[in-house]
Each structure stands twice: as structure tokens, then as C-alpha cells.
């Protein structure tokens, strides 16, 4: 389908696709197996200017928006959802600075991120604060011109690899979610450590670790916006980042579909390619339609975000909900089309199925997305 993207966006998509095909595909299985972080690929993405596509030109970016970021994430995910997350996770960690940071903070951090010299990470989840993000226990206590951070963030994407961390911590426990604040913490800050690398079902090329703060001193100027804005910053960040997760889901689904199509055309059973069976054809047709519908919703949402629309929470949640469910469905069907081969790790599709699952979970589970969607729908109907 032609989504009438701009010439520059076409260039971005084609370059991301080229890198995915030529550089990521050949190594995807390797990184999945070893669970190493794909630094060589991050270097290629950096040299190709892809880290800067959604950042303003005055900070070394290319001046595009969330749709540009989605195009890159989708193409990279088509080859490997895990490696793509090194890119998308940096976007997530950068958004709080881009959306709410001061001019000084933007000048200090965005150019290195745009150039791909530094990766970023976003830290909100804790052991007892998953879907219930309001119950975070990490604290930030102000002492003179510093904040002292204490607490442990869990399952942080890019932890240990990234240089720049945006951290949500409570500056006033008595105020609940209104007492949360957002901070920029640089890797190497005294009192900041990383836990062991998590062993995951999928997206194994991505680094997931704890980030542990023990009397970690952060300069007061690293506070993003004001005290108490942490939760709002997090929610606004998710509004912009969920299309990115959705794009990752679309990419994973498309990648699995590509493999399934190719396999169906070449796999011969009963003396004919299995693509000649209607049972397979209908599966392929459904998969193709679902992927395209998800893509259309993701692009439309990303465009809405880029237009500066005030409230995008519902649409972003819809995009992520729909695309991640499609990813799970399509990758499962891809394994089905491959039959026994699909279940074997020598063949690429089971990895897509493992990678797809996380898109229904992180940055808000599908259930939380439904909560967001319904809450907004009800709110809108009351207003009418």
C-alpha cells in the first residue's frame, strides 16, 4: 500500500531496509543465540545517521518525527526485533528530554544521541511497579544542588550499554504519582550500578538489566521539567513511543510473513508447492491483511503525533494494542506454515514468534492499553 510518505522518508526507509537486509539478517540468529549486544550494528546505524531521523536539525538530527522513527524501527525489526530494540529503546530514553527537557539539556544530550555516539534508556519499571507504575519505590531526595537517588529499576532496555538514562523517581512519596519526577542520569555516575543480564524468551539481542541506585548523586540541573512532573512526562513519553513499539510489532510480523510466503512457494508436499493449497492461501491472505491494517493504523497514529495533536493517548494505545496482537497472531501462523521446520531453531520463524510476544507486554500490556483506550473513549463521550 502506498502511504504517501515523503521523499526523505522513502530514503530513510530504504536505507534502513538495506541495512536490515545486508547487515542485520545475516547476524540475527547469532545475536539471538549468544544474547550479545549488537554493537557493530549500532555503529552502522550511527554512521548512517539513522539515530537522528526524529530529532530536530539544530541538535544534529534530520528534522523528522515519530513516523520517521517508526519507519526505521519497522524495517530493522523485519530482520531482528531484538537488534531493533537497541535503536527503539534509545528513542524511548530520548523522548523525555526531547519533549520536556530544557534547552540546555537538549543541547547537551541530543547531538550525541542524534550522531549515535551515545545510546539512551528509559527507567520506570520496578519489581513491584509494573502496570501499576504509580507505586514506584525509587526515591530522589534533594540535598543542596543535588538529588540523591536510591532504588532499583528492573528490566531496563539498553541498561549497561546506554550512556544516558532518563529515570523516574519519587521526590515526594506523600503525593503518590504526583510526587514523581524525571531525571537524566549519565552512565558512570557514582552510585549507579547494573544488575545481571536477564535471560529472555525473545528479543535476546537486546540488553535487559537492573539499574541500581545507591546514594547516587545527580546534579539538580538534570531534573527534567519540575518536581512532580515525572508521571506526566512518562505518560507523554509513552504516547509518543507506543507507535514505535507498534512499528516494531509490524516489522516483526512482516518479517515472519516474508519468510512464510517464501517457504510456502518453495516447500513441496504432495508434489506441489504448499502455496497452491487453499488452506495455506487463506492463512497468507489473513496474515497479509492483518499486517497491512496494523501498518495503516501505526502510520496514521504516528502522523497524528507528528501533527502536534494534543491528545494521542487513545490512538497510540490502539496502534500498539492492535499491532502487537497482529504480530503474535502472524508469527504464530508463520510457524504453522513452516510446520515442523518452523518449530526448529535452525529456521528463522520461531524467533519471530518469541520476539513478538514482548510487544504485547512492555510499555504497557495489552490489558493496560485497553484500559487507556476505554478510559479515553468514555471521557470523550462524556464531553460530547
Amino acid at each position: 500500500m502506498d502511504y504517501l510518505i515523503t521523499e526523505q522518508q522513502t530514503m530513510i526507509r530504504d536505507l534502513a531496509r538495506k541495512i536490515a537486509d545486508e547487515k542485520i539478517k545475516p547476524v540475527a540468529a547469532h545475536y539471538d543465540e549468544t544474547e550479545e549486544f549488537a554493537w557493530p550494528i549500532m555503529k552502522i546505524l550511527a554512521e548512517s545517521d539513522l539515530f537522528g531521523v526524529y530529532l530536530p536539525e539544530q541538535y544534529g538530527g534530520l528534522g523528522g518525527g515519530i513516523l520517521d522513527m517508526c519507519l526505521v524501527t519497522e524495517e530493522l525489526s523485519r530482520a531482528c526485533g531484538g537488534i531493533a530494540l537497541g535503536y527503539a529503546g534509545t528513542g524511548l530514553g530520548t523522548l523525555p528530554i526531547l519533549l520536556h527537557g530544557s534547552e540546555e539539556q537538549k543541547k547537551k544530550y541530543l547531538p550525541d544521541i542524534a550522531a549515535g555516539k551515545k545510546l539512551a534508556a528509559f527507567c520506570i519499571t520496578e519489581a513491584e511497579a509494573g502496570s501499576d507504575a504509580g507505586s514506584i519505590k525509587t526515591t530522589a531526595r534533594k540535598e543542596g544542588d543535588k538529588y540523591i537517588l536510591n532504588g532499583t529499576k528492573q528490566w531496563i532496555t539498553n541498561a549497561g550499554e546506554a550512556d544516558i538514562y532518563t529515570v523516574i523517581a519519587s521526590t515526594d512519596k506523600t503525593k503518590g504519582v504526583r510526587g514523581a519526577s524525571a531525571f537524566i542520569v549519565e552512565k558512570g555516575t557514582k552510585g549507579m550500578e547494573f544488575g545481571k543480564k536477564e535471560k529472555k524468551m525473545g528479543i535476546r539481542a537486546s540488553a535487559t538489566r537492573e539499574v541500581i541506585f545507591t546514594d547516587c548523586e545527580v546534579p539538580a540541573e538534570n531534573l527534567i521539567s519540575r518536581e512532580g512532573m515525572g508521571f506526566i512526562i512518562a505518560m507523554k513519553t509513552f504516547d509518543c513511543s507506543r507507535p514505535g513499539v507498534a512499528a516494531q510489532a509490524v516489522g516483526i510480523a512482516q518479517g515472519a510473513l516474508d519468510h512464510a510466503l517464501e517457504y510456502a512457494r518453495t516447500r513441496v508436499q504432495f508434489d506441489v508447492p504448499i502455496s497452491s493449497f487453499q488452506a495455506i492461501q487463506h492463512m497468507l491472505a489473513d496474515m497479509g491483511t492483518q499486517v497491512e491494517a496494523a501498518r495503516a493504523l501505526v502510520y496514521a497514529t504516528a502522523r497524528m503525533v507528528d501533527s502536534g495533536a494534543k491528545s494521542v493517548a487513545k490512538e497510540s494505545a490502539m496502534a500498539k494494542l492492535f499491532a502487537s496482537d497482529v504480530a503474535m497472531k502472524v508469527t504464530t501462523d508463520a510457524v504453522q506454515i513452516f510446520g515442523g521446520y518452523g518449530y526448529m531453531r535452525d529456521y528463522p520463524v520461531e524467533k519471530y514468534m518469541r520476539d513478538a510476544k514482548i510487544t504485547q507486554i512492555y510499555e504497557g500490556t495489552s490489558q493496560i492499553q485497553r484500559n487507556v483506550i476505554a478510559a479515553n473513549m468514555i471521557k470523550e463521550s462524556i464531553k460530547k
Binding site: 545475516p26 547469532h30 518453495t266 513441496v268
Partner: protein, 398 residues
């Protein structure tokens, strides 16, 4: 001036020429053929294909020159550390046939330092005459002195044709010589013959990675120069009783000047012998996995063969680039090529499809490698190789 014309009254619009053009330079307009001169190389494939003589090509390069002063077939014989390379014997074998057809002498040219012994060896391989230039500066190959000496020899003795191995040295050397003496040069020939009527060397070579073959001549320039692919021609038999006339040439010192300086010669001693020399090659691809290459090495050891690899195995750092077979690696023509866990991308096939016997082991029954394999085994190469190695050990009593 050379030109190509479509005779519109004869053209029936049958499109045979469109199909025949290897360069996609012909299309139809108003049911007549039109040639895009930006793409046309005047190769003449369309002229042959046209059943209606509707394409006229003019490619005569001016009046015919008097070329009678040029005679004899020369073979440039490559030596390394004083040892004549086997490609030279192949060229002498082929050169003998050509010289006999033309009724001229077969001459060997050898450059080196302290190479007196070479004369007898070259004579035994069929050379009638040997041009020998012995100088310390010629001990190892250097572009400048080798070019200068060969240019001077050719200008003085005027050979009809010069054959040279399509080796790194050969290709570097004669490419320069051909420019300096205004000669025609055809690269990487796999077949040579003589058109007796015109006294022309018919040089046939693969192009487009072996997808098409072209026969090339040098009508109006002498010498006719060709580099010839290694291991395609048969080596000349040894006849120790043969004698040859030896012409030892000396030149003034400046002829041997070299702008480049050879600082060091490094021989990389690996598990393998030189791939392009090997009669048996066992190659591994993506399907072997890193550890699987030990199995490839093992079989190569038992068979006394060399180890090759596909590009993906090299890109994955399982084995150094020097082992890569294919378009961006080496072209090999062994007697036996065993491809293990290699699917057979066109880029790989280009480098090995001229092997005499090809064995393919791959778990994908639809892998392209099976389309060119003499024998195929569908299965996991990492499981089959140990069994195959055992079987060969039995056969060879090792």
C-alpha cells in the same frame, strides 16, 4: 568509423535480435528494431541472430596492416623463487598445438635471477626457443622491470602471439605490456584455437561470471596477447631428450629500474595448499557452523585437498578470506569439489561451476547447488561429513 545499422526494409520485427543482445541494447519501436548506442558494444550477437540479414555491422579498423613480420607463439613462463610455475607448462602444452597449426616455433620467455637451469626444463616441455633474461632485479616479480624487459623483447623479436597465465603476476604484467606495445589482449581465456585462413588466434573466455562465452580476435594488431586460466589446459608432457635454442638477452642497467620496491615476501602457511592449484577442494558454507569447519578440515586432510569456503562462512569469521571461493573470492577448477552446507548462491557457483566433479551436501533439497552437482546428498552436512570421512579412510586404507 565503426557502426551498426538496422536495414529497415529487411527488419521484420521478429525480435530475435532483442533476445540475442547480451547488453539489453535493442528494443522495438513501430515493429522495427532500434539500437540504443549508449548500451551497444558492437559485439555482433544480434547480427548472427538475425535471420533476415537486417543488421549491418561495420567494425573494420582501417586498412589492413602488414603483419607478416610477426611470427612464433610465445609463452611467458612464470617463476617464483626460481621454480617454474605449473601454469607455464599448461601454456606450453597449449602453445605447442597452436604453433604446430601455424607452422611456427613455440618460444618460452623466462625472466629471473640465476635461472640457467630453467632452459633444460622448458625445452623438455616443448619450447623450441627460449628467451632468457637473467638479472638480479628480476629475481622476484616487479611491475616496472618485468614490463620493460618484455616490451623490449616483443618489440625486437615480434611474436605473433604471447600467452601468459591469468595469475596475479600475469594479469598485472601483460595488461601493461599490451598498452605499451599497442597490442590486443584478452583476459582469462579458457579455450584457444587458430583461424588458419586469417592466421588469427581465436580466444574464448567466459563473461558475466560464466553465463556467456565470447570468442575474441585481434585482427589488426600484433602480438595477439592472451591470459589463460589456470588448470584448464593440459600440461605439456616431459620429453627430456628435447633441445631448444637459448637466447640470453642482456640490457643496460636502467632497463631494470623499478619505481616500486619489494620490501618483503610473506608466505602464509595455513592448513591449505594454494586453492587455485588444488585438485580436490572441500568447501564449507553457512550450514556448517563455526565448529563444523573442523569436519571440513578433517575430510580435506584425508583426501589431501584444500579447504574452501562460501562468502557467508568467511563473513561470519569462521575462516579467513583467502579461502573464499566465488565472485568476490577465488575462481577454482579442481577435479573434485565437495560443497558442504553451501546453498549455492550464483556468486558462489560462478567460482566453482567449472569443476570436473561436484558433490553437494545440503539439507535443503531445493538448494541451487544441487542443480549443478554431479552427486548430491540431502542432509545435514555436519552429520554426513564424519561418515563420509570414515568411508574415504576405508577406501584409501588410511
Amino acid at each position: 568509423m565503426a557502426s551498426i545499422t538496422i536495414l529497415l526494409d529487411k527488419c521484420t520485427g521478429c525480435m530475435l535480435c532483442v533476445k540475442a543482445c547480451p547488453f539489453g541494447a535493442i528494443h522495438m519501436a513501430n515493429k522495427k528494431a532500434v539500437i540504443d548506442m549508449a548500451k551497444c558494444t558492437l559485439c555482433g550477437a544480434c547480427v548472427e541472430a538475425c535471420k533476415f540479414s537486417a543488421i549491418e555491422i561495420r567494425r573494420d579498423a582501417g586498412p589492413k596492416k602488414d603483419l607478416t613480420a610477426y611470427k612464433d607463439i610465445w609463452v611467458f613462463c612464470e617463476q617464483k623463487k626460481g621454480a617454474i610455475q605449473s601454469i607455464s607448462f599448461e601454456l606450453l602444452g597449449e602453445g605447442r598445438k597452436l604453433a604446430d597449426k601455424l607452422g611456427v616455433k613455440l618460444c618460452a620467455v623466462i625472466l629471473g635471477s640465476g635461472i640457467d637451469d630453467a632452459a633444460a626444463e622448458l625445452a623438455s616441455r616443448g619450447a623450441d626457443k627460449i628467451y632468457m633474461v637473467d638479472h638480479p632485479a628480476l629475481k622476484s616479480y616487479q611491475d616496472d622491470p618485468y614490463t620493460e624487459v618484455l616490451v623490449r623483447l616483443a618489440e625486437e623479436y615480434k611474436p605473433e602471439a604471447i600467452l601468459c597465465g591469468a595469475t596475479t603476476i600475469g594479469r598485472s604484467l601483460v595488461s601493461r605490456v599490451a598498452i605499451k606495445i599497442d597490442a590486443g589482449l584478452t583476459a582469462d581465456c579458457t579455450e584457444l584455437d587458430i583461424d588458419l585462413k586469417e592466421r588469427l588466434l581465436l580466444q574464448t573466455r567466459p563473461a558475466f561470471g560464466g553465463n556467456i562465452m565470447a570468442t575474441i580476435v585481434t585482427p589488426n594488431h600484433r602480438p595477439q596477447m592472451a591470459t589463460v586460466r589456470h588448470k584448464v589446459m593440459k600440461e605439456a608432457e616431459i620429453d627430456a631428450t628435447r633441445k631448444a635454442e637459448v637466447i640470453k638477452k642482456t640490457y643496460p642497467g636502467e632497463v631494470f629500474n623499478s619505481r616500486t620496491k619489494l620490501l618483503n615476501i610473506v608466505e602464509e602457511i595455513g592448513e591449505t595448499v594454494n586453492l587455485s592449484e588444488a585438485d580436490i577442494i572441500i568447501s564449507g558454507g553457512r550450514g556448517m557452523g563455526k565448529e563444523g569447519f573442523a569436519l571440513v578440515n578433517e575430510l580435506a586432510k584425508v583426501l589431501g585437498g584444500a579447504v574452501g569456503a562460501s562468502r557467508s562462512a568467511v563473513d561470519a569469521d569462521w575462516i579467513p578470506y583467502s579461502h573464499q571461493v566465488g565472485q568476490t573470492g577465488k575462481t577454482v577448477v579442481p577435479k573434485l569439489y565437495i560443497a558442504c552446507g553451501i546453498s549455492g548462491q550464483i556468486q558462489h557457483l560462478i567460482g566453482m561451476q567449472s569443476s570436473k566433479v561436484i558433490v553437494a551436501i545440503n539439507k535443503d533439497p531445493d538448494a541451487p547447488i544441487f542443480k549443478i552437482a554431479t552427486y548430491g546428498i540431502v542432509g545435514d552436512a555436519t552429520e554426513i561429513l564424519p561418515a563420509l570421512t570414515r568411508a574415504f579412510r576405508l577406501v584409501l586404507n588410511k
